[in-house]
Every structure is written in C-alpha cells, then in structure tokens.
Symmetry: C2
Amino acid sequence: MKKYTVAVVGATGVVGREIISTLEQRKFPVCKLVPLASERSLGQYVTFNGESIAVQVLTADSFENVDFALFSAGGSISEKFVPEAVKHGAVCIDNTSHFRMHPDVPLVVPEVNAHALKRHQGIIANPNCSTAQMVMVLKPIHDAATIKRVVVSTYQSVSGAGKEAMSELEQQSRVNLAGSSAEPEVFKKSISFNLIPQIDSFTENGYTKEELKMINETQKILEDSSIKVTATCVRVPVFVGHSESINIQTERKITADEVRDLLSKFPNVEVMDDPANGVYPTPKEIAGTDPTYVGRIREDLSIENGIELWCVADNLRKGAALNAVQIAEALIA
Amino acid sequence: MKKYTVAVVGATGVVGREIISTLEQRKFPVCKLVPLASERSLGQYVTFNGESIAVQVLTADSFENVDFALFSAGGSISEKFVPEAVKHGAVCIDNTSHFRMHPDVPLVVPEVNAHALKRHQGIIANPNCSTAQMVMVLKPIHDAATIKRVVVSTYQSVSGAGKEAMSELEQQSRVNLAGSSAEPEVFKKSISFNLIPQIDSFTENGYTKEELKMINETQKILEDSSIKVTATCVRVPVFVGHSESINIQTERKITADEVRDLLSKFPNVEVMDDPANGVYPTPKEIAGTDPTYVGRIREDLSIENGIELWCVADNLRKGAALNAVQIAEALIA
C-alpha cells in the first residue's frame, strides 16, 4: 500500500492536534508526518503513532516531497503558504475560509459531494464547522423533497475559537464561581455563563462573516443557489460541540418519519430521536465522536412543508479535522 | 392614596422573592404583604421595606381581606388555590401556565394588551417568560407590517427552572472544573458546559409544552391567530436572562432601520444595536434590569419581507415578577 508524506500546518493548534490524532486513529497511510507551525511553537513536539516529532517552523520550503498538506493556521497563513505547497506538488486541504468560495476550489464534505474532488487543481477547501454538520442533514432532505429555505440558529462551542478561547471559558468560569468577574481577552464579551451573538466580524448587511459562510457554503456544497438560507450564529459556554436549531422549508411535503428514515440511512449521521425517553443529542455527550447527531425531528406547525430539527456534532471532528482527513481518504481511494 | 393587601404565593421561590423586591422597588402601594408558601418553607422570613415578615403556610383561608394575590408556585397550586382566592374577593395574577389559555382569563403584557384587563373575572394570567419578551418585540412590528410567520430559537437560563436549578448549574460547573462529572438531578441531562434542547415535557407532535406556549400565547396576546409561530426552546448554562434568535416574516416590507425606530419608541424596549462597536445585548450584562433588549436587527437575506433579530431580557423580571407587578399597577391605575 502506498504511503504518503503529510504536512500539518498549525500542528500545535486545537484543530492541528485533532488532525494528527485523526490521521492516527483512522490509520491514514502516513510514511512521514511533518508538523509545521509558527516560531512561537518552536521546541514543541507532537506525538504520532507513539513517536515524538519536533514541530518545524513553517517556511515556503517546508513542502518539499509533501503529498498532502492540511492547513489549519488561519486565513492569512493559507493565503501565503497554500500556493507554495501547490508549487511543490502537494495537494492542499485547507480548513480556513480563504479559498472556500473560489470557483476553482472544490468545497467538500465527502458524504455530500465527494464527486467535486475530481476537479481539484491542488487545493480543496474544508467547509466552516457549522456548515459541515448542517449539510450532512440537509443533503438527504434536499434530494428527497427539495429545500427552499433554511432558518438556522447556532449554539457554537468555544473550541471553534481555538485553545486560548477554551482556557478563557475555563478561567472565567472559575473566577465567576469564586464570586468575581474577569475581563474578556479572546472574546469580545464575557463568555462564562453568558452568550455572545457574534462569531467572526460584522459585514455591512448586519450579518457576521460566520453567518454568511453558512449561507454561501451551503449553496456551494449542495450545488444549488436556489436554496435560501438565513443564519444567526451564537457562541455558547460549551467547550466542544456545535449545536444547531434548523428550520427547513421544502418544496414537497415530507413527514418527520420520512426525515428520520432518510437521515438514519445517510452515512455518518446518527438519529437520536426518542424524546419521550429523553433521547436527543447534547454537545457534552457527543464530544469526541465522529457522527453528526440529529434529534427533535418534527413537522413545523407554522407552514405546510416544514421540518424542525436539532443537530449536534463535534466541531473539531466533523467540523474540521475529521472532514479534512476524510477528504484525503477520498483522494487516495 | 389607597393601599392594598398583597399576597405572594410561592414567596420563597426565585420568582416569589423577585416579586417581593419588585413591589418594593416600584413602590407598589402595599399596606400589608402576606408571603405564602408550602409547609417546607415554614420558619422562613422575607424582607419587605426593611421589615422581616414570617412566611405563612398556604391554605384555602389565606386570602381573607387580600386585594391582590400573585401566584408563582406551580400549576397545581394555582389550579387549587386561585379559585379560593377569587372566592375571597382577591384579584389573582397567576404566573403559571394553568389559566393562560382559558378563554375567560386575560393573558397580559401591559405594554402590548393592557386593554384586555378590562374583561377579567378575578384571574389574570402572566405569560410564559419566553413569550413575554418576544411579544414586546413583535407587537410594534406586527402593527406596522403585519407578521405572517415567526421562527424562534431560544437560549433560556436555568433560573427559569427555579433556585435548585441555579444551584445545580453552579455545583456541576465546580465539579467539572475540578475534573469530574456530576449526575444531573433537576435537569434531565448535565447542564454545566452543555445545552439541553428540552424545556417542559414533550407532546405528541414532537414539540415541548414550552414551545407550544410560545406559539399559543403569542397568538392570544397579539389577538391574532393568523400569526404562525414555530419555536425550539433550549436550556443554556446561563444563570439569569433568556435570549432569543427571532426570524420574522411580514406581509409588507419593513427595513432594519424602520424596525430599530419602531422598537426604540416602544415602551420598555431598549435597542442595543451597534454591532461595529460591539453593541448587542448579552444575558449576563442585562440580568437584574427591567427592559427587553434588542440587537442584531437586520433584513433577512433569504426572503423578501423578513427581519432577523436577537432579543434578551431578564426572565425573572419581564418574564415573571416585573410583568406581574405591572399588571397589578395597570389594574389600580
């Protein structure tokens, strides 16, 4: 079996570390792992298959003989170094938003649109975490009943903002429980025992960039710009796991039972929907696992052809590392 | 000035205590306060205008010479004792769901439908906390542009479930931060650093009772059953303050600026909407205050006539105690 040299850019970040453990867990055929990061991480090590590997400083020359480069170090790093990696012949899987809407770059969730990988020119984009889990649910419903409009409100964990954000939630919570308050640093406002209705920066129309990603990326992945989406993205005091309250209006009537049936047959979606027995997904319960979980499936009382549901997934896995590794797996299959 | 004897049923609960402090803060003309509770609270005292008053055990005879009885001790207590209070000539303001949808009982948010008080027959219902703050926002928009449909997702604090729920969030958070996990008692699942997409019990159509309250009570308060509402209610690890992501579809086009203008003129609504400068409401910031706060007002990109907004209010105040006292104030005005 052919083995590959895999570079991980942003190897010491919360997603980078998850990519490395996902490569290991899924036994991706790696002959050499190249962990790359900024100078700040110099002297750090990552562990892969029991081996301790020194983190290297990212430069334009880091990609010699690299087969796959998985980027998760911010948009500006991808902007600068993805073209360098492509020049060296590496196939780049980029977890930032930088290339996602570029017409020549496939934006892929393998269960949904793996076919789009065929047209890649060295770069494949990994969708926004909130979008990835949502399209897993929308795809089978769209195929069966044609989605007209989606109204989504998110409940996004702090790990989506990186490890400093996770520390801030932890530290602020401790301070609050001791009866004091702490100044926010990573977030704009206090996140402990609070909610922040802002993820990423604001645009002129009043939506945040995160909300526009959910709109634009959904249309691109489902390859249908007639699907209208509106989104409100909210940060919640949860460490890992994004949750979404999704309202779906379809062209044709679809029942809650049909949706349950469709979703339970869709790969890597798990229906957890037995409310009478307290069965529905919550982020704390599913953190650290791979599937996209769906519960609270019911027919919308406010319109003829509507479905309400609750979707939860580990944002570091399906929303980031897992999807990126799945893309690499699909490419070598 | 006439003064009134006011009984508070459930006086030692989180809402009961808030009612007593609200009566004091707003200088409601009380000649005698009668704090009532179950036998469990015997021996406890409440403080009102600097005076310590012994809590009395609630019985059918507790309402002699009572002018106003404010109930907040659960639906079964209201079912049993509200009729007793009415028999004694007291006007009852009931914070439970028991009488809310009864055709002879006005369901009132004074800023929205104070006129409905005129037809009361001794009982006035206080709406569900999530509904109260939502109708404050919907009313001026409905008057201006006729609301067709509302899709709401809530982010509800634990204080809505009582003081034991607040203790559970606090204790569980401490245990988690110490590296352990704790069994849930008040809630069905762990609430610390987690979300629970269930408030109240489930009904046959898959909605919870809390969600159906938001649908039915909104139509009753706005006196328009043509307003279609769908809701998803979620408990979040916040102590005080309910937040709502509200999507509103109107008959006529209304701009975000018009909505800002209408809401800023509506009594007891505060527009906090300058996202470029980080101005939007969060529950921790507004806990302990009276207004209903609105931010993130924007025109919905998915439909012609749609508005997205984010609404936050103190669920113990506008959602409960404040609204109940406002009803009493309107009755004596």
